[in-house]
Symmetry: C2
Subunit: 100 residues, 2 copies
């Protein structure tokens, strides 16, 4: 469920408060609209976030995290942390050529 390319990143954007579709779309530079719609739909379906349609014109729809959704954030945190450590490791490991 969290294994997709974007799910955790979408959830992460919502930590600071609810966001509209367009805002999310702009905050995730390389996602496509279709995929964002898809992700939001299945995250809402899994009850990790909630969709609120304000029924206005022009349309206004907001997404916010559920408590359950917040439980997914440690996964992102752990992944990010590992990413940092791994990057450091790469940096430290590369320059072996010019040691001698």
């Amino acid at each position: 469920m969290l294994g997709g390319k974007w799910s955790l990143l979408v959830l992460n954007q919502l930590v600071g408060g609810p966001l509209r579709f367009g805002e999310l779309y702009r905050l995730l530079p390389d996602i496509s609209e279709k995929v964002l719609v898809q992700e939001l739909k299945q995250l809402a379906n899994a009850e990790l976030l909630v969709r609120t349609n304000h029924g206005e014109v022009p349309p206004r729809v907001e997404y916010h995290l559920t408590p359950l959704g917040r439980q997914a954030l440690p996964v992102l945190a752990a992944t990010a942390e590992f990413g940092r450590i791994y990057a450091e490791h790469i940096q430290a490991g590369r320059p072996q050529q010019s040691i001698g």
Copy 2:
């Protein structure tokens, strides 16, 4: 890198100590040989584990975690923890029909 279906599970099996190919293969009931070889190769390439070929006949090859590999385990832990919480949530959410 850790996004594959098996990488974290392979690493997890190695926490208790080095294992041979066949042992890993038996411990991961649903993985295919090809995919296990693949995973091991790319995890070794990423320096998350080390491959030791004992040069014997019949072949004996052992895999063990590197310190860097251990840094990936929190990702699995966080994911597993979320899995538990999510399962609980499902259990708690389902029986709404028979409340009234």
